[in-house]
């Protein structure tokens, strides 16, 4: 089977590497090309003439309660759409490195102080220049809001305008993931002047500094975006119009790629490459992400109150087989800190990975739960969940445990897990976005701060201490040890059990589109470098 997985378009060394102080224009590509650029799956061919149009197809539209307010949305689908219009201070480069965006450069005189120098010449799409006041106002609005992202910013003490184009963050205690958190769309800079004057309602309209402005939007049908004339990077966006069609059915998106009516789309099905095999001019690339599926055992419920029973289940799971079978070998087992992020822990070293099936049977015997039977509740919108469930079912049979599977529609599942009190499930499965720093997603293991799992997870002071230490440690071997201890502890508690990473499969028309796609993605946005996409063969 000819593997057409990886594609190596004409490449050019892209970014000037540098130390903490970064400078340079993202997306600026030199002419020379090398077979493959580290950290990239596809690199745009800059010889193609600018202008033209690009059509993308995505699975879901923005369906946030707070409409288009970027600070309030919690779904990757919403983040991606808004990333065309709004921009944060910093962004994520290849291999999860933090790159400058609206902040030209930043300095960290001490672990609790971050001084950002704003990029000159940046304005909102209505022409008004972005100021430090916009940045400060945005951060204050975010920290005061009920958005889940407020917590992710960590222990922020103050955000002050310290010079004309300079904003300084003061933290109560060191918090390494701050830069990662600031790189997400939730933290993008809003037109605070207009918001304070109430001349704009951000839940209904958009006014950002990004490469595009919204043309039209028909809910659940399509968006059209136009080039933002006032964009600070004069050479971007390369194309004039961007159309984003909402197409939930994967088979239909595959068809659109076959007949060329769409130029790029993301898929969840691991066999996307196989399904598009033999179709001329279609390339499929696997983008590794920091997202991962995890199993949730309700430790406040009757069945899994006993830690030994939970550990037995944890030991019996074969993460390698889950990664191999459910995603065709393109995902990897992971611990709490997502596999692939800097300093991430090694899932092979956690206690459950080294204990054998006999230990699991012994634990069950000790706990008096030899022929344990329980039901796993998961949902249908992500088909991989059903497949993983069926593999776990066979893994558990090896230690005499019978697991029934209940595939619900997402509304019913969410209600039984998060709303009903007491929570109406023994075990459930879903996935986390892993973001860009190991310390960010591990915050969800502390029910007191994450709240959503307060009703089905015990508070473990020792684990919480490790979580806070992980956030405070500076990147490096010290933090790696803390992460490993954190992974081991969570693994022993066996309440929220990470399984395997959740890659995205990106397919695009190589005859009409020349995109820039990074090999890794922390916020589930395959179109992060949309402003550099070029239309070919016009």
């Amino acid at each position: 089977m000819r593997s057409r997985l990886l594609c190596c378009a004409v490449a050019a060394t892209l970014l000037a590497t540098g130390c903490a102080e970064r400078a340079g224009q993202p997306g600026q590509a030199a002419a020379a090309s090398t077979p493959s650029t580290p950290g990239f799956l596809a690199v745009a061919d800059n010889s193609a003439a600018p202008g033209g149009a690009v059509t993308l197809q995505v699975a879901a539209d923005n369906a946030a309660a707070a409409g288009l307010d970027p600070q309030m949305s919690a779904a990757a689908a919403s983040w991606n759409l808004m990333s065309f219009v709004y921009q944060p201070l910093v962004t994520v480069g290849p291999d999860y490195t933090i790159e400058p965006l609206l902040a030209e450069k930043w300095a960290t005189p001490d672990p609790t102080t971050y001084v950002f120098s704003l990029r000159p010449g940046v304005s909102f799409s209505n022409g008004r220049a972005m100021t430090a006041d916009d940045v400060v106002g945005t951060m204050k609005r975010l920290l005061a809001s009920q958005s889940s992202w407020a917590g992710q910013l960590g222990p922020v003490e103050s955000v002050e305008k310290t010079a004309d184009n300079e904003v300084t963050f003061k933290l109560k205690s060191p918090y390494t993931p701050l830069l990662g958190a600031l790189a997400n769309i939730n933290a993008s800079i809003l037109p605070m002047k207009e918001i304070d004057e109430k001349s704009i309602d951000v839940t209904k309209e958009t006014l950002g500094t990004g490469p595009f402005v919204v043309g039209e939007h028909r809910q659940d049908v399509a968006w059209t975006f136009k080039k933002n004339p006032a964009y600070w990077n004069k050479e971007q966006p390369v194309v004039d119009t961007l159309t984003v069609e909402i197409v939930p059915q994967e088979a239909t998106r595959l068809a659109a790629l076959r007949d060329g009516s769409a130029q790029m789309s993301a898929f969840v099905n691991a066999d996307t490459a196989k399904l598009l095999e033999g179709v001329p001019n279609v390339r499929v690339a696997t983008q590794t992400t920091s997202d991962y599926h995890y199993l949730n055992l309700n430790s406040l419920g009757k069945t899994f109150a006993d830690q030994r029973v939970r550990q037995a289940v944890n030991i019996a799971l074969d993460r390698k087989q889950i990664a191999e079978v459910a995603t065709g070998g393109q995902s990897k087992p992971t611990g709490v800190t997502p596999e692939g992020l800097p300093d991430a822990c090694d899932p092979a070293k956690v206690p459950s990975a080294t204990a054998g099936l006999e230990k699991a049977k012994a634990l069950l015997k000790e706990a008096g739960a030899e022929n344990l039977t329980f039901t796993l509740a998961t949902y249908t919108t992500d088909p991989v969940l059903g497949q993983i469930a069926q593999i776990m079912q066979q893994n558990l049979q090896r230690i005499g445990v019978t697991m029934k599977i209940e595939l619900l529609d997402e509304g019913t599942w969410a209600n039984r897990v998060y709303v009903e009190s007491p929570p109406n499930f023994e075990a459930s499965m879903t996935w986390f976005a892993g973001y860009v720093d190991g310390a960010m997603v591990s915050r969800w293991w502390n029910p007191d701060t994450s709240l959503f799992n307060k009703a089905f997870m015990k508070t473990d002071p020792e684990l919480n201490a490790l979580i806070d230490k992980a956030a405070a440690d500076l990147p490096g071997p010290a933090r790696a040890t803390t992460f490993q201890q954190l992974c081991d502890r969570a693994d022993a508690n066996a309440e929220m059990i990470p399984l395997a990473t959740r890659p995205q499969y990106l397919a695009y028309r190589s005859d009409t589109l020349s995109p820039n796609i990074m090999a890794n993605e922390g916020y589930g946005n395959p179109y992060r470098m949309i402003s550099t996409f070029r239309e070919l063969a016009r």
Binding site: E250, L254, L276, V325, Q390, Q393, Q394, I405, E406, D409
Partner: protein
Amino acid sequence: MKRLDGIARSGLVFLLALVVLVVVAQVTGLGGDPEKIVGPRLAPPGPEWWLGTDSLGRSTLPRVLQGTGTSLLLSAVAVLATAVVATALGVLAGYQGGALNEIVMRVVDVLYSFPAIILAILVAALVNPGLDAAVASIVLVTIPLMTRVVRAAALTVSHRDYVTSAIISGARLPRVLGRHILPNVAGTVAVQGTYALSIGILVEGGLSFLGLGVQPPQASLGVLISEGTVYLTYAPWLLLGPGVVLVLAILSINVLGDGLRDQLDPRTSRSLT
């Protein structure tokens, strides 16, 4: 039972053969364990797995057999329930007429004017997906049509002379319904039953296509076919296996239905020359 004509008979034979094969596979585990992962994913048909393997590496043959069993059983149970309810409602409405008839027809109209697939999804969401949701959806979708047909049949029968004479000679309602109306309506119920059976399988298939049908790891023809449609381009055998079985099963059911109905009132063609 007068002889069914050729086509209907072959339909009946195929159905019986299918049921026997499914039962034998269930009992003796012929063709392998439907839930065990036996080989590489999406492997083409070969000696160990005659219909190839699915996206998890399980052999498709035993899953098709299990799926057929589930779908047929599911629809049969649903159709039986529908037959009982629809016959009761239809006969009462058809024979009694008046207020009862009006109420029954209004309820039936309400269900009938609900788009079938949406009714099925509502039920699946209310009763949580699974066997009972699938059965409930099929029952709710097939009851309106069947009640209407049975009512029409009961209406015509109740105008026949032999019914009037039974009433005149003092037969009470249960006797009239039991002895006179029911036997004559039974034929129509049987015919409509076969059609309801095929609608049932299609409705279950539609639910599975939208992900709300039978729960994994159990399979139904609908589940197998919707997965097969996804892998159509790379692993066509995933669709071919269950697809052929489903179409042949429904075809034989429909053809059997035609045969039964022709039995009731044989309508051979006539020449117009």
